[in-house]
């Protein structure tokens, strides 16, 4: 009897678990048509599931990308960057160029003209004075304020507002990325903020009043933000009545809530869950080429890797195609060859990925003096083995697998690769905090950078950007030294003429490619899942965020 009851319990448990597993069987996929057409329906609400809660709704001082995204609800910039990575005019009538007279011939005067009849959510008109005020806030001329960066804004010498709709910036020196990157996220209301003594701590940024399509009604920390349609929006009242942003700190829970319909949009589906996301019947999985490019960075201060032939050999000896097919079979990412985004005007289309060519790699290594003398499969030079260490942030499964594949592939060309990973804060820590990258304590490292809307990457490649005691925040943790690149980077930001700039950036990309500064691997793929009922959802891979066109969104009844 006693034995029987034990078996009975075991049976019950097995039966239970089998039924649970059986319940999770694959659902059949539905065919999905384009969701950008059709006549918009007014009304309804969208619940938007987000992994990371913004720290505050201030795009200029927030450290988080989610903040800039949510700020699309309540704020507007003079310009915006659309989902094709193009700079488009928003509050401004036109993006200033030399051709339309917005930029003076010498590039030192930039004029923005505001669109007509733009109002703040409290009904007051938005004027050129507010634009000037925003610049003053960022430059710390109005009480305490800690923006993440003042680059670009600090080039302005004088701001003039000849009338309500015109604002003129006089620059001290030409700064080419000016119109593409400044005033992209928000203009601040002067009448509400000018009396604030400490803007960092001002509660305004918990419940801002901006000019945007939705008014922030309620923000429950750790739970949600509720935003309601602004009927006075300058582009017309948005189609939706309400947007609720729910903060759900766990990917699996986001997936569950997407299945149960507790959320309508699941932002940032992790690549490892793309198959699961694809199975949700009522939703579409949007795949967008991201602006983040992954690379296997070389530390150029390492004597082995300072030899261009070795770097090129390693690139030829890396079968990137196979790596991507093995690790990302579903998202089908595109191979990267430069530091620019493929849709950018500055992208050099002539460059093609390095072919996988182990023979060429071996020849290059021979030429560089690395020969396998003792026949153990690893090359030597002057009695030293060709041994390198690769590092990545620990806990990322795909990168860990990648390291093992690289180990195998590089072994074939006679390179011994060791793996040493760090937690991400240690790896990416600042110079003073002893970060592994910034202090150069690595040989090869796997990480990603963001290709900006403006192609200026001088902070990555310039010699004076190498992290050191004198410049602890330098970003050139490749320790790459090439005076030619320095010169080209400097020339490229001295002109406002896009065609001229393009020539410089094409040349820079050619040099980086030819020099094998780093092995460019792939662009990430942004995955977002949204209900089939949501139309006009156009994920935006840039720092503008997916809600950039939220006023156009509409939902089927």
């Amino acid at each position: 009897m006693k034995k029987n009851s034990l078996w009975l319990t075991i049976f019950i448990i097995t039966a239970l678990s089998v039924s649970v597993v059986a319940g999770c069987q694959r659902k059949e996929k539905l065919s999905r048509e384009s969701l950008t057409e059709g006549k918009p329906v007014k009304g309804g609400q969208i619940i938007y599931g987000m992994l990371e809660e913004p720290d505050k709704l201030d795009p200029y001082s927030s450290q988080m990308l989610s903040s800039a995204n949510v700020c699309n609800l309540c704020f507007d910039g003079l310009i915006k960057v659309d989902n094709e990575s193009r700079v488009i005019s928003w509050l401004a009538e036109e993006v200033p160029t030399i051709a339309n007279g917005g930029i003076s011939e010498d590039g030192l005067t930039i004029t923005y003209k505001l669109k007509k009849a733009i109002k703040w959510q409290d009904g007051k008109p938005l004027t050129s004075g507010d634009v000037k005020f925003t610049w003053e806030v960022i430059m710390g001329k109005h009480g305490k304020y800690t923006p993440v960066t003042t680059i670009g804004y600090d080039r302005v010498e004088l701001v003039k507002t000849p009338d309500e709709r015109t604002v003129i910036f006089h620059l001290k020196e030409v700064y080419a990325p000016f119109v593409n990157t400044l005033f992209q996220f928000a203009i601040f209301p002067k009448h509400l903020l000018e009396k604030s003594q400490d803007l960092n701590k001002d509660s305004f940024f918990r419940r801002p009043v901006g000019s945007g399509p939705f008014k922030i009604k309620e923000w429950k920390s750790g739970e949600y933000i509720i935003a309601e349609a602004n009927s006075n929006y300058f582009l017309g009242r948005p189609n939706l009545d309400r947007i609720i942003i729910k903060f759900i700190p766990d990917d699996n829970t986001l997936f569950t809530q997407m299945r149960t319909g507790e959320i309508d949009v699941w932002e940032m589906v992790p690549p490892t869950m793309s198959q699961q996301a694809e199975q949700i019947k009522e939703a579409k999985l949007y795949k967008t080429t991201a602006v983040n490019y992954e690379n296997y960075a070389f530390n150029h201060s390492n004597p082995i890797l300072s030899d261009k032939r070795v770097r090129k050999a390693l690139w030829y000896g890396t079968d990137i195609k196979t790596i991507l097919e093995k690790l990302y079979p579903d998202s089908d990412p595109s191979i990267a060859v430069t530091d620019q985004y493929p849709k950018s005007w500055a992208y050099n289309k002539n460059l093609k990925p390095y072919p996988y060519d182990p023979q060429k790699a071996k020849k290059l290594l021979e030429k560089a003096g690395w020969k396998d003398v003792d026949g153990d499969g690893i090359r030597e030079k002057n009695g030293k083995k060709l041994t390198l260490t690769i590092s990545a942030p620990s806990g990322k499964k795909d990168r860990e697998q990648k390291e093992e594949i690289l180990q195998e592939q590089w072994r074939k060309i006679g390179v011994d690769l060791k793996i040493k990973n760090y937690d991400s804060l240690t790896l990416f820590g600042s110079f003073e905090e002893g970060g592994i990258l910034t202090t150069g304590k690595y040989d090869v490292a796997i990480f990603a950078w963001i290709a900006g809307v403006d192609p200026d990457d001088s902070s990555l490649w310039s010699i004076d950007q190498i992290p050191s005691k004198e410049n602890p925040s330098g970003q050139n943790s490749y320790f790459y030294r090439n005076p030619k690149i320095d010169r080209l980077c400097k020339e490229a930001v001295k002109t406002m003429n896009q065609e001229k700039r393009k020539k410089y950036y094409w040349r820079i990309q050619e040099i980086l490619y030819e020099d094998a500064v780093t092995i460019f691997e792939r662009y990430w793929v942004d995955l977002n899942s949204a209900t089939l009922k949501l139309h006009q959802f156009k994920p935006n891979p840039t720092n503008q965020g997916h809600m950039w066109n939220v006023y156009e969104w509409w939902k089927e009844k």
Partner: protein, 318 residues
């Protein structure tokens, strides 16, 4: 009792000070810092870094930072401002703490509600079908990781049955509604409670079995007392003593279990707040949360001690 309470409460002061110093040293010793969020992956000028450091007070020596913090806490009750959101730390904690306390105490309530009767019944009906089922389930319940259990609970109750919401504390935008709040509380509190139901019912069973063999039970039976009277008048009270000790000692475990539960069920509690503060190296917030949560744990241990005296007449705090 009054004197004992006063003494215990006074003892918390040096204890909290030691905790504060240890926390401060530990968080500053961990690699990385609040600046890496600003510096990596962005175009940022060296003078911007200096400016940010200056506004965060990071360019002052460490001991100065600590004593400044201590002074603000002791004399003004001011826990400082978060490096990330610039909101007062006390406000951030106060927004989240009630949620964690609700979750913790409903889990505690459920654990006791289920663990004690299961344990008692298992002990009385030793080696019965019920005892086997309870034993098997408590072993399973004890060894299942919380995050997996949470996922399964969501799968069954939210996705398959559609009975309960899979995360959050309330329906956004709805005015206060007790039923709505309870609906959201069910899954996380059960998931958090399960481990404790499993282990405490085992303790209860073992303790009761031990006491049932005591001589005074035989005496009571010989006197002709009914089994019910023996159980409730004599055995149970004695058997509860070790169990209550364990419950008291494990209260901090509920607190730490809440961190995982809060993440899975999007429950905006203090655990999640701490987790994010740690990731961002938000020193003032970390320091504040650790201080407050130590206080909560110390106080709940004190509660357990008082309960102890209440159950066992031989223990009196004088």
């Amino acid at each position: 009792m009054g004197f004992y309470l006063k003494r215990r409460l006074l003892q918390t002061i040096p204890l909290l000070l030691i905790i504060a110093i240890l926390c401060f040293i530990l968080i500053h010793q961990t690699p990385g810092g609040p600046l890496s969020v600003y510096t990596f992956g962005r175009k940022i000028a060296p003078r911007d870094i200096e400016r940010i450091k200056d506004s965060l007070g990071l360019n002052k020596p460490l001991y100065w930072q600590f004593f400044y913090w201590l002074r603000q806490v002791v004399f003004y009750g001011d826990l400082g401002y978060s490096y990330v959101t610039w909101q007062p730390v006390s406000k951030l904690i106060w927004e989240r703490l009630p949620n964690t306390v609700i979750l913790m105490f409903s889990a505690l309530f459920l654990s006791i509600l289920f663990a004690f009767p299961i344990g008692i019944f298992s002990a009385l009906k030793k080696y019965s079908l019920f005892d086997y089922v309870a034993t098997t389930f408590s072993f399973i319940g004890y060894s299942i990781p919380i995050f997996w259990l949470g996922l399964m609970a969501q799968l069954v109750f939210s996705v398959k049955l559609g009975l309960l919401p899979s995360g959050g504390v309330r329906t956004p935008g709805l005015p206060f509604n007790l039923l709505d709040r309870i609906k959201y509380l069910v899954l996380p509190s059960f998931v958090l409670a399960l481990t404790f139901i499993a282990s405490w019912s085992r303790y209860m069973r073992a303790s009761l079995l031990g006491k049932l063999r005591e001589n005074y039970v035989i005496t009571a039976r010989a006197k002709g007392l009914s089994e019910v009277a023996i159980l409730f008048k004599h055995v149970l009270r004695n058997a509860l003593i070790p169990v209550v000790t364990i419950v008291g000692l494990q209260l901090p475990l509920i607190f730490s279990g809440a961190v995982i539960t809060e993440t899975i069920f999007a429950w905006p509690g203090i655990g999640r707040l701490l987790f994010h503060a740690l990731l961002r190296r938000d020193y003032p917030l970390i320091q504040g949360i650790l201080l407050i949560s130590s206080l909560v744990v110390i106080l709940s241990n004190l509660l357990a001690d008082i309960a102890y005296a209440y159950i066992n007449p031989r223990i009196r705090y004088e």
